[in-house]
């Protein structure tokens, strides 16, 4: 799971380049001003590509923080090696 977490940090760092490494683990729709619908679509595309998972846009409401995304990936049983 640590490897998934590390790769998720990278995903967040490219989609939200204004966040520092410290801010990423606590990032959420509420705390990140730039987390708009366009950023959400980009984040989903990056996650799908990076973790080779199919994410339905209907799941977007569940993916509203770094922790929530990490749990979601865990529930989808993404592997540490993934696609990347």
């Amino acid at each position: 799971m640590n490897e998934v977490r590390g790769r998720l940090v990278r995903c967040f760092s490219v989609v939200f380049p204004q966040l520092s490494a410290d801010q990423i683990p606590t990032a959420s729709v509420q705390t990140v001003q730039e987390w708009d619908s366009l950023a959400a679509v980009t984040l989903v595309a990056v996650l799908q590509e990076e973790f080779a998972v199919e994410i339905d846009f209907g799941d977007l409401p569940q993916l509203e923080s770094f922790d929530a995304v990490l749990r979601y990936l865990g529930s989808r049983k993404v592997s540490g090696n993934g696609h990347g």
Binding site: R10, S13, V14, V15, P17, L38, V41, T42, E49, G84
Partner: protein, 589 residues
């Protein structure tokens, strides 16, 4: 094979493209402003394209304007009004008729099909007119539909519907017509097919949910090709080739004149194809030289064989002896006046290729794959990519001849003793053209590729070039040269501004093929005379490669040139040598 420069394929993934865009850039970096006109949500395609352009233009801040969803033509009309370097137009089927997409339910009845064809024809006509108009002042890169047509035709998938064929015919006609415009570049569908599998491009879920129709892999490939059209790498200028087991099959010294071959019958046809390819390169102004360990007399006789596809006239120089290949290459580069990175070396021997590579690390040194058909096919495609140019101009057609004549001329100059005697006997003439606009594509090309006789090394973008001539005081002067040894074509360009009795020169270049003829002296003389100038101010800057220009200015000024330094008419008259060229009547634009 030692390897040609490969495609930049390291921005294939979206995460890598986003990473590229995160890299910091100096605040003062100049902006490269482009616009992307498409009918879909640009989303990840925009990201890939910006990343590709950022990678290709590392010292520029890339700005990519986009438009509104579902309005390709409106976007095209709105976006081109900004001061852009280039406009990118991505056309998909639904931009031509919404019924060719899946986001609207306009009807796929048999009775709708002819109407779809008709409205597509009309949409393409309007797009054609807009693109032609815009390309009059701005480079336009166009991608024709890359996605599959939806299953709206009544025929089974195995049978092409006549409506589908009509649609494809309309696209083919549209793209071939716009591609004839000097500033229009159309994405090559065949190459896109190699990079992006046609049946794996359409992302129906993304199209329905977000309005972005491309799978990421397709968006990445298309962005890469578009970026290559916008900011291509500099094409190579010459190829140095071996003869035995490369130009032909067999060792000439062993099998003799009749033993070498390049035919289907003898299983050596690839060498014939290679000759044909070299002939094609030569016809586009690519320089071809031979470096071969052989007997010169025997080689000369081999080139007399009437079935050889490549004429000896296409080759210069011919380095045939038993010395090291790197020595031959050194001499060829000297004659061509080119750098090692401008040239490709090709030999069937890996050892020879390595020996040359060691001596010239910047040179692409390739091994001719004489018995590997697939590798040979890849080689031809790689060579075409390396030498690809946007168009072939008049100067390209005479390049080999003028280099051959320049070398001969150097020999005559040495033997005649006095440069004045030699230049007087050359019966030279120059044609000086003065223009107040920047329509001259040859001048634009010259300014952007000349290194040695270059006032300051400044490269001009299309937008900066066009803007320059908004100033009514601005002018473009070009010089074409010809003497009894042959024409050199248009070899010099000056961009300047007139302010009373002063002419300020912002750019000045002259092809290295034109050195030693006092064309630079003639150019200054023409500037003084045509503008009745008393002083010329040079926006000179030293560059790593413009020593020839610096030395000329030192000769004129009697001192090290400085940025903004000036030359008075009196100084020029007292220092200039006698000029023997006849000046043809100038043409004003």
């Amino acid at each position: 094979m030692l390897g040609l420069v490969a495609w930049l394929r390291d921005l294939v993934k979206l995460i890598d493209a986003l990473e590229e865009l995160k890299k910091p850039l100096a605040e003062a970096a100049p902006c490269f402003r482009a616009a992307l006109a498409c009918g879909f949500t640009p989303l990840h395609f925009e990201t890939f394209l910006r990343a590709q352009l950022t990678q290709r233009l590392p010292r520029k801040r890339v700005r990519l304007d986009t438009g509104l969803f579902g309005d390709l033509r409106g976007n095209l009309e709105r976006l081109h009004k900004a001061p852009l370097e280039v406009l990118v137009v991505i056309i998909e089927w639904q931009d031509l008729d919404l019924r060719l997409g899946i986001r609207t339910l306009g009807g796929w009845r048999t009775t709708d099909l002819q109407d779809i064809v008709n409205s597509t024809a009309e949409a393409l006509r309007l797009l054609h007119d807009s693109i032609i108009e815009i390309s009059g002042f701005l480079p336009v890169c166009v991608s024709i539909p890359t996605l599959p047509l939806p299953p709206l035709f009544m025929t089974s998938p195995q049978q092409a519907s006549s409506y589908e064929l009509q649609l494809r015919e309309l696209i083919a006609s549209f793209s071939s017509t716009i591609s004839t415009q000097a500033k229009v570049r159309v994405v090559n569908s065949q190459l896109l097919n190699e990079l992006s599998t046609p049946h794996d491009r359409f992302d129906i879920k993304s199209e329905v949910q977000t309005g972005f129709p491309y799978k990421l892999s397709h968006a990445s490939s298309l962005a890469e090709l578009v970026a290559d059209l916008i900011a291509p790498s500099s094409p190579k200028k010459g190829i140095i080739t071996d003869l035995d087991d490369t130009m032909w099959a067999g060792i000439l010294g062993e099998v003799g004149l009749e033993g070498i071959s390049w035919s289907l019958d003898q299983g050596t046809h690839l060498h014939g194809v290679y000759q044909q390819f070299l002939e094609s390169l030569a016809s586009a102004g690519i320089l071809i030289a031979v470096a071969s360990k052989n007997e010169l007399e025997l080689v000369n006789r081999a080139f007399e064989r009437s079935d050889l596809r490549l004429s000896k006239d296409n080759i210069y120089p011919l380095e045939v002896h038993w010395s090291r290949k790197s020595e031959s290459v050194r001499r060829i580069l000297q004659v061509w006046n080119l750098g090692a990175d401008d040239v490709i070396f090709l030999d069937d021997s890996p050892m020879e290729a390595s020996e040359v590579k060691d001596a010239f690390p910047e040179m692409e040194c390739l091994v001719f794959p004489k018995s590997d058909y697939e590798a040979f096919w890849v080689l031809l495609k790689d060579l075409r990519r390396a030498f690809g140019k946007r168009s072939v101009n008049e100067e390209d057609l005479i390049r080999t001849r003028s280099i051959r004549e320049a070398a001969a001329l150097r020999g005559v100059e040495i033997s005649s003793g006095s440069p004045d005697d030699f230049l007087r006997s050359a019966a030279a003439s120059v044609r000086v053209e003065l223009a107040s606009g920047g329509q001259d594509t040859r001048a634009f090309e010259l300014v952007n590729k000349t290194n040695q006789f270059n006032l300051n090394g400044r490269r001009w973008t299309q937008a900066a070039w066009s803007s320059y001539f908004i100033d009514p005081a601005a002018f473009l002067m070009t010089v074409a040269y010809e003497d009894k040894y042959g024409p050199l074509g248009k070899i010099s360009a000056v961009l300047g501004r007139v302010d009373g009795k002063t002419v300020k020169i912002d750019s000045w270049v002259m092809s290295c093929r034109a050195f030693s003829r006092r064309i630079e002296h003639q150019t200054l003389k023409q500037i003084f005379e045509k503008f009745r100038a008393e002083e010329i101010v040079f926006e000179y800057l030293p560059t790593p490669r413009n020593a020839p220009l610096r030395e000329f200015l030192m000769e004129m000024l009697g001192a090290e040139p400085q940025p903004g330094g000036s030359l008075s008419f009196a100084q020029f008259s007292s220092r200039s040598f006698e000029i023997f060229q006849r000046v043809e009547e100038a043409v004003n634009e």
